[in-house]
């Protein structure tokens, strides 16, 4: 954390190499989020750049009480959401019938995961499933687990009632838990 603060101070004083370090340190996180948010491969490079330019532009307003990774994750999620809204793709506004089971909203085709997490096969399966989820589900999951945002902060960021956010989060995780359970059961056989 002290190193992080020093790095931020260097960037704010105009040290470009310090900002290069910031990018290199957090680019994996940003790439991960942008991919999981369902941004098409041809558009991703622009989003990565936009995210880091926003980081550069707003670094002076970063509240040093939180982690830099959390703050950057939020920027990456918000930038992706804005991009999807502009594209009028499957956005948070384009909410399907909430009573529809999540498993029916998700296409059954298996996508090849674009990455491997440090843990393993189950991680790859889980993130592969997250990638296939409707935007509203994956947004709240990414915000809660990667950006470490509270229910309240997520509700504020996505402008939805806290109850709705919790509902998406719980249903999304239940869906993932069921998938995980299937994997474990298969392994037991």
């Amino acid at each position: 954390m002290p190193d992080e603060i020093q790095l931020i101070k260097s960037v704010l004083s105009g040290d470009r190499n310090a900002f290069r370090q910031v990018i290199e340190q957090y680019q994996a996180l940003v790439v991960h989020i942008v991919i999981k948010m369902g941004i098409s491969p041809v558009e991703r490079d622009d989003i990565y750049q936009d995210v880091f330019l926003k980081v550069y532009q707003n670094l002076d307003s970063f509240n040093k009480k939180s982690k830099l990774s959390t703050w950057i994750a939020r920027i990456a999620i918000n930038t992706s959401i804005n991009y999807l809204k502009q594209k009028k793709a499957d956005s948070l506004d384009a909410v399907k019938d909430d009573s529809e089971p999540l498993s029916e909203s998700i296409a059954s085709n298996d996508l090849t995961p674009d990455f491997q997490t440090e843990n393993s096969q189950t991680s790859a399966i889980i993130w592969g499933e997250v990638e296939k989820m409707p935007v509203k589900y994956k947004t709240v999951i990414l915000m809660y687990h990667l950006a470490e945002m509270s229910y309240e902060e997520i509700a504020d960021a996505v402008r939805l009632p806290q109850g709705t956010v919790k509902s998406y989060l719980f249903r999304g995780r239940k869906y993932l838990k069921d998938k995980l359970e299937t994997v474990y059961n298969r392994a037991d056989l």
Binding site: F115, T117, F170, L180, E181
Partner: protein
């Protein structure tokens, strides 16, 4: 508690609670094997979702970002100048509005006289300049007010809200 099993929602709420876990649910988990199994699966899921990521990173992100920074800084500088101009506009508006309802010239004269008594602004040039200023204000009052209102909205959005609700659409 409850002899029946915990729901998925209860288990997730239990895990989300962090250090402040519900003691009754905790006790149930300690005696119910089925619920404990579900808590373990959910815990594994939470770990996977929060795990550090090593994504396949495209080459040259840092270079492409650093190349764009000078243009970004120029734009920020331009916006800064715009803010200063609009701030001046807001000041002019306030003066215009105040002048509309009350005569500021004697007040200004008194202030200057108290600061620099040697100027003696009671007569001569001060009256002429005062007349010219008054004429200017009455002639361009509408423009000054429009400019000031737009400037006020812009400044409020950028400086107070910092969300660029209005200006983000144009700048």
């Amino acid at each position: 508690m409850k002899s029946e099993h915990l729901t998925d929602k209860q288990i997730q709420e239990y895990l989300d609670a962090g250090k402040h876990k519900d003691q009754i649910i905790q006790k149930h988990i300690s005696i119910c094997e089925e619920c404990r199994r579900l808590v373990e699966i959910y815990s594994a899921l939470y770990r996977d979702l929060a795990a550090p990521v090593s994504a396949a990173i495209p080459i040259g992100i840092a270079d492409s970002v650093l190349v764009r920074i000078p243009a970004y800084e120029r734009r920020a500088k331009k916006t800064e100048y715009m803010n200063i101009l609009l701030f001046i506009g807001l000041g002019v508006l306030l003066l215009g509005v105040t002048q509309y309802f009350t005569d500021l010239l004697p007040v200004g004269r008194d202030m200057l006289n108290s600061l620099v008594p040697s100027l003696d602004l009671q007569n001569g040039i001060s009256v002429e300049s005062g007349m010219a200023a008054e004429e200017f204000l009455s002639k361009y009052r509408l423009w000054i007010m429009t400019f000031g209102v737009l400037g006020g909205v812009y400044l409020f959005d950028r400086v107070i809200l910092k969300k660029r609700i209005f200006t983000g659409m144009f700048v």
